[in-house]
């Protein structure tokens, strides 16, 4: 098996007749943090939704861990070890924090049983002590940062090999964003692979190994994160800094 955990070739996808993603090719290696940056409407979320199976690709191939998964149902893709932390957290607002996490452990319970879920729950509480304090509270009453942590913990409950995060920093205070990114880095140290989609390009590229820049459905630049940070076009468009010659 190659070290390419996720591999996408010539992917076209969109909604109805609207083609949002045009001829996307990319890969994510095991143990990497890969950042996908781009403006609003560039197709970043569409890309993640296509990978996880919420949207059927129009053409092209997606393979995860060497297995083609471009026609598989969401449940199967999640069970094979790919998890998405959706944009806008999407927690189950009317349910308690612990119930949210148990639902995240749905595929784990099917495969390994209830004991594994309890074990994983304890691990998430260790990683996010805040959630343990609030385990009986309804998820809808949590603050934005706590909800983001809950969404991340819920995705991690399935013991994914690849975690995809859609705009984890949106709408959060700078201090909390720092915590979130610290956790992402910590995840990688524990051996996880992360595909991070962000508008906050600087923060994302700072913790990433490699990056892709998506613009109106196409990948226009790719390379090691340090190169992208130094690239004058990327700086101008996404890092808010005009390089003065």
């Amino acid at each position: 098996m190659t070290d390419r955990m996720l591999r996408i070739r010539n992917l076209d996808a969109g909604y109805g007749k609207l083609r949002v993603l045009k001829n996307i090719s990319l890969h994510v290696k095991s143990g990497e943090i890969v950042a996908m940056i781009g403006a609003n409407g560039a197709g970043k979320s569409t890309l993640l939704h296509t990978i996880i199976g919420l949207i059927r690709p129009m053409s092209g191939e997606i393979s995860f861990l060497g297995q083609a998964c471009d026609r598989a149902a969401v449940g199967r893709i999640v069970a094979s070890g790919c998890a998405l932390v959706p944009e806008g957290r999407q927690v189950f607002a009317s349910m308690s924090v612990e119930e949210n996490l148990l639902l995240g452990g749905y595929v784990l319970q099917k495969e390994k049983g209830r004991a594994a879920v309890q074990e994983e729950l304890a691990r998430q509480y260790l990683l996010f002590p805040r959630l343990k304090e609030r385990r009986r509270q309804l998820a809808g009453t949590l603050s934005g940062g706590e909800q983001q942590m809950l969404a991340m913990a819920r995705a991690l409950m399935s013991r994914p090999k690849l975690v995809m995060m859609d705009e984890p920093s949106t709408g959060l205070a700078p201090l909390i964003i720092r915590d979130i990114f610290k956790i992402i880095r910590q995840l990688r140290e524990e051996g996880n692979t992360v595909l991070l989609v962000e508008q906050n390009a600087r923060a994302a590229l700072t913790i990433a190994d490699r990056g892709y820049v998506l613009e109106v459905g196409k990948i226009i630049v790719q390379g090691p994160a340090t190169d992208l940070l130094a690239n004058s076009d990327v700086q101008r468009a996404y890092l808010g800094r005009e390089k003065i010659e």
Partner: protein, 296 residues
């Protein structure tokens, strides 16, 4: 009005009210997982009654009811798989029309199978004229059966949704379908399950009510309207509120006969439905903000 009469009406109201509440809960269960109103809900109640009456020739009452509930659940599942499961992103209007079609289909099938005659299960205990006295009020034991059965169903459903994994997954589906999908939950199976569950509780209600209300091929339609009124009155999707609203409607209906002739009893319900739809479409217990987020 004498005190005895007052209690007599009250018990009648509670009896019918529990039935309406069960039909409304059936609406809510399906509404929560699919976002649609299943207008065939009343037909499940009719099917429960009819099937159990037919089975009574072959087996004792308890078994007949249990088998009738099971068969109705299977019919519910079959309907979902046949007419709804394979649709890709169906619109709300399309689904509603489909359920109306299903209700007509079930009613007409019942007409062919059982004919137009009015049937009923025997009283579970005693007969039509058996009563026992509660203080100064005479009550048929069947009334107690109905109230008991409805109460057990409500408590059972509550436990099911609160503390079993499948109940939790169904609630997750209702709270956020996309997120449930992302957890790996098969949301389509949850929809099938919600149809089975609604069909099952509807059928059981149909069985316990049959000795009092009788069962006919078209008795589902008026029940559906009553149940729909209650579901709206309580606020769509809120099952606990449906219980309160159901009892309220049942009691209003029962007492309405002291003011208007009996023939106008259904008109009272329809009037309440219209007033609620005009004035508080989100129900007396629902919040208008939450209602604005719903597409139906």
């Amino acid at each position: 009005m004498t005190l005895e009469l007052f209690f007599q009406y009250l018990f009648a109201g509670i009896t019918y009210g529990s039935l309406y509440a069960i039909v409304a809960i059936g609406f809510n269960i399906i509404y929560n997982t699919t976002g649609i109103i299943n207008f065939a809900q009343g037909e499940f109640v009719m099917l429960g009654g009819m099937i159990s009456i037919s089975l009574l020739q072959f087996m004792p009452l308890g078994a007949a009811i249990a088998v009738a509930v099971l068969i109705t659940m299977l019919i519910g599942a079959a309907i979902e798989m046949l007419f709804i499961r394979w649709l890709v992103h169906p619109s709300v209007l399309r689904l509603v029309i489909i359920t109306i079609g299903i209700s007509i289909l079930l009613r007409e099938s019942a007409l062919h199978i059982w004919g137009e005659s009015i049937r009923s299960l025997p009283y579970f205990y005693g007969n039509e004229i058996t009563t026992f006295s509660l203080g100064s009020v005479n009550i048929s034991p069947q009334v107690i059966w109905v109230i008991l059965a409805c109460a057990v169903m409500m408590v059972g459903l509550n436990i099911f949704f609160r503390s079993t994994p499948i109940g939790r997954e169904m609630r997750a589906c209702a709270a956020n379908r996309t997120a449930a999908l992302l957890c790996g939950v098969n949301t389509r199976n949850m929809v099938t399950l919600s149809f089975m569950l609604s069909a099952g509780i509807g059928a059981l209600a149909g069985c316990v009510m049959s000795p009092i209300t009788y069962t006919q091929y078209d008795s589902g339609a008026s029940l559906a309207i009553k149940g729909f009124t209650v579901a709206i009155l309580g606020g769509l999707g809120n099952s606990m509120a449906a219980v309160a609203a159901g009892l309220l409607l049942g009691i209003i209906e029962a007492f309405s006969v002291t003011v208007v002739p009996l023939a106008f009893q259904d008109a009272v319900t329809i009037t309440i439905l219209l007033i609620i739809l005009f004035v508080r479409p989100h129900g007396i217990f629902g919040s208008s903000e939450a209602a604005r987020l719903k597409d139906f």
